[in-house]
């Protein structure tokens, strides 16, 4: 039972990150009716940007020393006489990294938002009003462009990336079994949930959120009501790539940086379809359940079977509910 809880919690934590990635795909779909097949590769770029700003730039000679490792006097004092592996030590290790974590996150979000804007401007805008098939295929072409560009730019081997939060192990007992959690994972989950909730609230309550929903409802009517549809498109892409940057940074600290981060996007795409393309709630449910299912598969069948869980799940759901768990049924006119 305790082990079950351990795996369930692990599943919920990775589910939260799936939800964070899914929010980017859903936002772009809601506003532009385009499903971004290359979202995983945007995330990969986010991870590499985080690596650049948090590891490469602080490591340069011209960078100020406090950026690489922040060691004010009081911290050095506190460090004196600490035991190895003490929780306070882990927090202090993290505190020394705070400047470069913040620098890295800001840099990653800004650069990725710029990249998203660039993609929208140069590739999506010219196709506005054309068939959706062409737009989706453009994102498929984007996969090759982005993955080629990433391996062209970042040739260095990706090294250690600083964790976003102190990585202290947390142990507690449930039903007589020990449950292990890592501090960083919990903070990652909280960040993911906060961003997810923030975006859902934004779409629901703010003026620009209403504009996005109106565009999703009917593009030409929204246009004639004075909503600048191109601006909405642009905003959706910026939003998606900025959240993608945060997700990329989190994934980089969890699994390391590698080109396979791009493939991660496909499993999230499966999750999004499973939840219903235009429903934040459905995607959240799908992300959490796939996260838990993956963890359970890992527990019962072994780690490698976990990687096809999202694909099997989406196939099963699509056969019974063609528009996903909570997706809106498309009305077709002949």
């Amino acid at each position: 039972m305790g082990q079950f809880i351990q795996f369930a919690i692990n599943g919920l934590m990775s589910g939260a990150i799936y939800a964070l990635i899914a929010v980017g795909i859903v936002s772009v779909f809601k506003a532009t009716k385009v499903v971004n097949f290359a979202h995983g590769y945007l995330i990969m770029f986010g991870a590499y940007f985080y690596f650049t700003f948090a590891v490469i730039i602080p490591g340069q000679e011209w960078a100020p020393a406090w950026l690489a490792s922040w060691q004010p006097g009081w911290m050095v004092e506190m460090r004196q006489g600490l035991n190895m592996f003490s929780p306070l030590g882990a927090v202090l290790d993290w505190a020394a990294n705070v400047p470069r974590i913040i620098f890295g996150l800001i840099g990653a979000v800004l650069c990725n938002a710029l990249l998203g804007m660039l993609i929208e401007r140069s590739l999506m805008r010219p196709l506005m009003g054309q068939s959706v098939f062409a737009m989706i295929m453009v994102t498929v072409g984007l996969i090759s462009i982005l993955s080629g560009a990433a391996s062209l730019i970042w040739t260095a081997d990706a090294a250690f990336v600083p964790h976003i939060a102190p990585n202290t192990p947390i142990r507690f007992e449930v039903f007589g079994t020990m449950v292990f959690l890592f501090g960083a994972d919990i903070v990652n989950m909280i960040i993911a949930l906060l961003i997810f909730g923030g975006i859902v609230a934004m779409v629901k309550f703010t003026k620009s959120g209403v504009a996005i929903r109106a565009t999703a409802e009917d593009q030409s009517t929204a246009y004639s009501m004075g909503i600048s549809v191109p601006k909405i498109f642009s905003r959706a892409w910026i939003l998606a790539s900025a959240t993608g940057a945060v997700a990329g940074a989190i994934l980089a600290t969890r699994n390391g940086i590698s080109p396979s981060l791009g493939l991660f996007g496909f499993s999230v795409l499966a999750i999004v379809l499973m939840g219903g393309l235009d429903s934040y709630v459905g995607c959240f449910i799908a992300a959490m359940s796939v996260g838990v299912l993956e963890a359970m598969t890992q527990w019962k069948l072994g780690g490698e079977w976990a990687e096809i869980v999202p694909y099997v799940a989406v196939l099963v759901v699509i056969i019974f509910r063609p528009h996903g768990l909570m997706g809106q049924k498309e009305v077709e006119r002949i």
Partner: protein
């Protein structure tokens, strides 16, 4: 001149090559293909064989995406199934005389592929467009994952791949690239002709009706269930044939050769060449295979063959591949076939109105 297009009877009007320019083009290219193995170097032979194998698969994707309008991003999996079925059946029937083995194994591989195609096509009855694209993508991930599993490793070799047999047609051992070229070219031309003729039949017309509007097609009495699954089966069968040739052509096959990259290459070749046209796959495959080669040659010349810079070749090829797809979608969505159509039309009408 357009006057050359005058037809005196229905028979002449219904011919595949219904004007002189088309005849000239097709018979001319067949002649070139026949001469090719006598003049080409080994590397050119290798490229030609690769193109032929890819072409058969792209023709398959064309049946599904171009003519029936069902988007698939997972056709690499059918090629994988064809290739692995060839190896598995060859090992299974190893008691039979070698000369007739491929004659049994290739059709079996094609049939297995078609059956899997029907299974993968099942979601197409419920979903279409984007959802179908993701469903096929998911199916292809599952297929390559299963091939890699230790569970099936005794038959598939798992992640390490498996050695493939040599084709032996009635005692003629096809152990060089030049001999394989003959088999591949003959089969590629046959599949092209078969695809062309498919769309002059009732079945092919039903596919086109489904592409244009599936509900309207259903109202006209076309069974969506039957024809969508048939389209999936035919398309997967072509890919299975391509996979069988793939297995015979290479000495060893690996699961990673059939992953997403292959599926994307198939779709990209189709879009670049022109969807829903017989010659589309031919042009598309030519461009998709030749452009990376040209980049390799150009990069080699520009960097003077230094190993330091050679590692940039792969990424540059990848970027150009993506740019090719994107550029065609933005500038010429109907593909190269549209360009050649324009040229042919003006040739037909010469010296009168152009365009």
């Amino acid at each position: 001149m357009i006057n050359g297009n005058l037809k005196a009877d229905y028979g002449a009007d219904e011919r595949v090559l219904n004007n002189r320019n088309k005849q000239l083009f097709v018979y001319g290219s067949m002649l070139l293909l026949a001469i090719f193995p006598f003049v080409a170097g080994d590397y050119a032979m290798l490229m030609a064989c690769k193109m032929g194998i890819l072409l058969i698969a792209v023709v398959g994707v064309n049946v599904l995406t171009g003519y029936t309008g069902l988007v698939s991003l997972g056709h690499g999996a059918f090629v994988a199934i064809g290739a692995y079925a060839t190896v598995v059946f060859s090992n299974l029937f190893s008691g039979l005389p070698e000369g007739i083995l491929p004659l049994i194994v290739i059709p079996l591989a094609v049939i297995v592929s078609a059956l899997v195609g029907i299974i993968v096509g099942l979601p197409s009855l419920r979903v279409k467009g984007l959802y179908l694209a993701v469903a096929t993508l998911a199916a292809s991930f599952i297929v390559t994952f299963l091939i890699e599993q230790d569970l099936f490793a005794p038959w598939t070799g798992g992640v390490n791949g498996i050695n493939t047999p040599t084709a032996n047609l009635l005692g003629w051992e096809l152990d060089t690239k030049r001999e394989m070229y003959v088999l591949i070219t003959v089969l590629a031309l046959t599949t092209l002709l078969a695809a062309q003729n498919l769309f002059r039949t009732r079945v092919g017309r039903a596919f086109i009706a489904i592409r244009d509007r599936d509900y309207s097609a259903e109202i006209l009495g076309i069974s969506l269930l039957r024809y969508k699954l048939m389209s999936f089966a035919i398309s997967a069968a072509y890919c299975g044939l391509s996979g069988a040739l793939f297995a015979y052509f290479y000495a060893r096959i690996l699961p990673e050769q059939f992953e997403l990259d292959l599926s994307l290459e198939l779709v990209a070749a189709l879009i670049v060449g022109g969807m829903g046209r017989t010659m589309g796959p031919v042009f598309g495959v030519f461009i998709v295979m030749m452009v990376p080669e040209l980049i390799k040659i150009a990069m080699g010349a520009a960097t003077g063959g230094s190993l330091e810079l050679a590692r940039y070749t792969g990424p540059v090829q990848e970027i150009v591949f993506g740019l090719l797809l994107v550029t065609f979608l933005l500038k010429e969505p109907l593909g190269i076939n549209q360009i050649t159509d324009r040229i042919l039309r003006s040739a037909n009408r010469w010296p009168f109105a152009r365009g």
